[in-house]
């Protein structure tokens, strides 16, 4: 007799309170023990709602209208209270910090067990076991906020695992983590599903990791199930990927491009190892050494840090002798693991922090002599959470707010606001409340609000976090446009695969120091160095390197072009 599914959804539809459009629509899914189901889809496709429906939070906590039947471990998720479902379903959310509710690592893991009335001796056993499973043993007495982002997410996973659930739901668990921390989380998911038979549902934009981890992938679209299949079936379906705005793994995109160019007939692999093996079927290609874009050494420096050191009051040394010069008109990608000092460095340019020692200059002037509010006219800063930068009732008022201190004539103020709104494609939303817009558009509002001050430098701190591929590209296109206008652009990101189309120069930080400061192409092929900084190069670059030691291609298009007669730069 076949084993009963861990989770089963039958014709599930759900409307949030007051919503006319369903968040989930006629979903039918079954999940077996030990299975890992990946959930993909554009922002707003229904991934988070589905995750919350699996433990009864939707609809029990949120309300709204729920149709059909969802059951986990045989328990109906509407009829059984959430605390009862919690015995069978563990949940890990996107933001590691927001889900930590106690003051020590072991208490965090014990919390659910205490609520469920498990005996203290058994709690102790399970806490030790769960912490060992996520490799956090030895940190039991630490405060959760002392852990790195990756450790915090593993702790949240341990807290879920300690309940010994049959199903663990992870909603964008690695969105805020650097690539190494992200890989650790997915490695654990693979191990736990295999060794313990725990079923996992993982909503994620991390295509490479999903391809390696998920047995099946469900593509959600406007709340409905657009497709369900193996990673190969999903990621090879180019029409589906295009339609649903899903990014395939780099290796799949690379082989799809090679196939389109007639260089191979094999179906694109979805895992890097498979792709590397498949390279043997291809000719070695030619050296593909695109000349490095020369640095414009003549342009005046706009951001300068000299032997910059900074320690937080608790003694954490965040910057340890940073030397950096960013020149006018450059587009610089600032990369590094969580906690490497990137944001701390940027905050010095904005004079939000005082250096422990060293010097910081903006446009040739020592920052120490400038106020934050004056620097705002030179540097526009867009934080990773646009909602913290929005505080006006309309888009127009939000953008105009930045001009208040300048005391401009009304006509000029209106003209500037119109220009900024037009540049960001927001003219149609000028009367809308900024917070009513989708996240991508909210970020645009913040960019417009910064742009209206006409700064020479724009800093984007993790602008692509929590965005799907299309949303991320849309923001980065804005950065490209601003760069083309002659502005200096600095982008902090973990999403290395997005940068080749935009940045010329890469600065890699690790442990408060600049580990490398070079062209993007050189940096992305310095694989060991990237991995030292907990980063992972795009898979196309790894394939290029495996083909030929002098193949410096970075994208599927370049990889394909490297087989063209004579090699050379892509057309």
């Amino acid at each position: 007799m076949p084993e009963a599914p861990v989770a089963r959804l039958e014709n599930v539809s759900y409307y949030y309170p007051g919503a006319e459009r369903p968040a989930l629509l006629n979903l039918n899914l079954e999940l077996a023990a030990g299975e890992v189901l990946g959930l993909v889809g554009a922002t707003g496709a229904g991934k988070t709602t589905l995750c919350l429906a699996l433990n009864g939070i939707v609809p029990q906590l949120y309300g709204g209208r729920f149709f059909g039947r969802a059951a986990v471990a045989g328990l109906d998720t509407v009829d059984h209270p959430i605390h009862e479902l919690a015995r069978h379903v563990g949940v890990v959310l996107q933001d590691p910090e927001s889900q930590l509710v106690t003051a020590s690592v072991e208490n965090e893991v014990a919390f659910a067990l205490e609520n469920l009335g498990v005996a203290p001796d058994e709690i102790r056993r399970r806490v030790d076991e769960a912490l060992a499973a996520v490799e956090l043993d030895g940190l039991a007495r630490k405060h959760p906020h002392e852990l790195s982002g990756g450790q915090q997410q593993r702790l949240a996973l341990a807290a879920a695992l300690a309940q010994r659930p049959r199903l663990v739901v992870l909603d964008e668990p690695t969105a805020q983590l650097d690539p190494r921390a992200s890989a650790e989380v997915f490695r654990l998911v693979r191990a736990l599903s295999r060794e313990r038979g725990t079923a996992f549902v993982v909503a994620s934009h991390a295509a490479e990791e999903l391809a390696q981890t998920a047995g099946r992938i469900a593509v959600l679209s406007r709340g409905g199930l657009a497709a369900l299949g193996s990673p190969e079936e999903i990621f090879r379906d180019e029409a589906l990927l295009r339609r649903e705005r899903i990014r395939p793994p780099g290796v799949t995109a690379a082989f799809a491009a090679l196939r389109a160019a007639g260089l191979t007939t094999r179906p694109p692999p979805v895992q890097l190892e498979e792709g590397l093996a498949a390279l043997r079927e291809l000719p070695p290609g030619r050296p593909f050494a695109v000349p490095e874009a020369p640095r414009d050494a003549g342009a005046p420096p706009v951001l300068v840090a000299r032997d910059l050191r900074f320690a937080y009051p608790d003694g954490t040394r965040a910057l340890d002798g940073v030397d950096l010069v960013v020149r006018r008109g450059e587009y610089v990608a600032l990369l590094g693991q969580n906690g490497s000092g990137k944001s701390t460095l940027l905050r010095h340019f904005l004079h939000l922090l005082e250096p422990s020692s060293g010097r910081v200059e903006v446009e040739g002037r020592d920052v120490a002599s400038r106020r934050v509010t004056d620097l705002a006219r030179s540097i526009g800063y867009v934080s990773q959470n646009p909602d913290r930068q929005i505080f006006n009732p309309t888009v127009e008022a939000e953008v105009a707010f930045s001009l208040l201190p300048l005391r401009l004539p009304a006509a000029e103020r209106a003209a500037r606001v119109d220009r900024a709104l037009g540049a960001l494609g927001l003219l149609a939303f000028r009367g809308a409340h900024p917070l009513s817009l989708p996240k991508g558009d909210r970020a645009r509002v913040v960019v417009a609000a910064v742009l209206v001050m006409d700064p020479a430098v724009l800093i984007f701190d993790e602008p692509t976090i929590g965005q799907d591929e299309a949303g991320a590209r849309s923001i980065l296109e804005v950065t490209r446009q601003l760069h083309r206008e002659g502005r200096t652009v600095v982008v902090v990101t973990h999403h290395l695969h997005l940068m080749p189309d935009y940045a010329q120069r890469v600065v890699i930080m690790a442990q408060g120091r600049v580990l490398a400061d070079t062209s993007l192409r050189a940096a992305y092929h310095a694989v060991d160095l990237l991995r030292t900084a907990h980063l992972e190069p795009p898979q196309a670059a790894l394939l290029a390197r495996a083909l030929h030691p002098d193949n410096w291609a970075l994208t599927p298009e370049e990889l394909t072009a490297s087989f063209a007669a004579g090699g050379g730069p892509p057309p």
């Binding site: 605390h83 927001s98 509710v101 509010t373 929005i390 201190p405």
Partner: protein, 284 residues
């Protein structure tokens, strides 16, 4: 990245005590603070409490902020007692008249000729030291206690678990709220908004705008926390268990006993030997 927290930054012998033992310390120190009117003893007790706070890892930033916030009130207390507390201080000292420290120039309107007395000054210092001691005892006892132990301690004192949890959650929530407010104000400054250049009305109006993102952020966080709590079986039902149950260790039991003894000694000495009665240092 630094994250706001009121919790003590390190473990100490004090932080390892059971919450009930800390409450005993709180009670004993409070009794002494209330009974002692000798400014030297009151100041000594305040400094000892401050030392205990620092030793127990209470954030210096928090202590400094507390001092800054209270400074205007303390200044007012000092002025009030120095200038106006005459009869009560005369009764305490048994003197016929007070010792002037200085007299305000007669030409000043309303306050011209007023005398600031040494006795009033010392009594003011005594009141400030008492108040500060009581204020310092709160972080000393609460912030050195792991919120989970605090919960267990409160539950053992028959506070219902949901209330105990809400109390400790609030303690955690406030620094986050302040952090949220600071972030939004910072975002405004990064848009060139210099509050110091505006008039008071415009300043208040602009700062009021902070409320929108802060409330939204707080609501979002509250909802996130509720999702997390419910997902982890939090329901406030009976039958909850505890990984670290609250059992009085030897150190905690000894602390409670010592505190009880200290209270008895302070009370007896105060009544029998008048130890802690108000005196002017160096006076008769």
């Amino acid at each position: 990245m630094n994250r706001p927290s009121l919790q003590a930054t390190r473990a100490s012998a004090f932080s390892r005590l059971d919450f009930r033992a800390k409450l005993a310390v709180f009670a004993a120190a409070s009794v002494a603070a209330v009974l002692w009117n000798d400014p030297r003893l009151s100041l000594g007790l305040m400094l000892a409490t401050l030392g205990a706070c620092l030793g127990a890892g209470i954030s210096r930033g928090y202590l400094w902020l507390m001092g800054r916030l209270m400074a205007p009130f303390f200044l007012l207390l000092l002025l009030t007692h120095g200038f106006f507390n005459v009869q009560y201080v005369l009764r305490l000292t048994g003197h016929a008249h007070l010792t002037p420290l200085f007299t305000l120039p007669a030409r000043l309107p309303l306050v011209g000729g007023m005398i600031f007395s040494a006795e009033g000054f010392y009594y003011g210092l005594n009141v400030i030291a008492k108040s500060m001691t009581l204020l310092l005892l709160v972080p000393l006892c609460v912030f050195t206690t792991d919120p989970n132990n605090l919960v267990v301690g409160l539950v053992r004192m028959r506070v219902p678990y949901p209330f105990a949890f809400a109390f400790t959650s609030t303690l955690r929530f406030f620094p986050l709220l302040f952090d949220e407010v600071a972030s939004v104000i910072e975002a405004q400054r990064l848009r060139g908004f210099a509050a110091e250049e505006l008039g008071p009305v415009a300043r208040v109006r602009t700062y009021a705008k902070v409320a929108v993102p802060v409330i939204l952020g707080a609501l979002f966080k509250a909802q996130q926390v509720e999702v997390v709590l419910q997902s982890r079986g939090f329901s406030g039902r009976r039958g909850r268990t505890y990984l670290h149950d609250s059992r009085l260790g030897a150190a905690s039991a000894a602390t409670i006993a010592l505190c009880a003894l200290a209270v008895a000694v302070v009370v007896v000495l105060r009544i029998r030997l008048h130890l802690g009665a108000f005196v002017v240092p160096g006076g008769t």
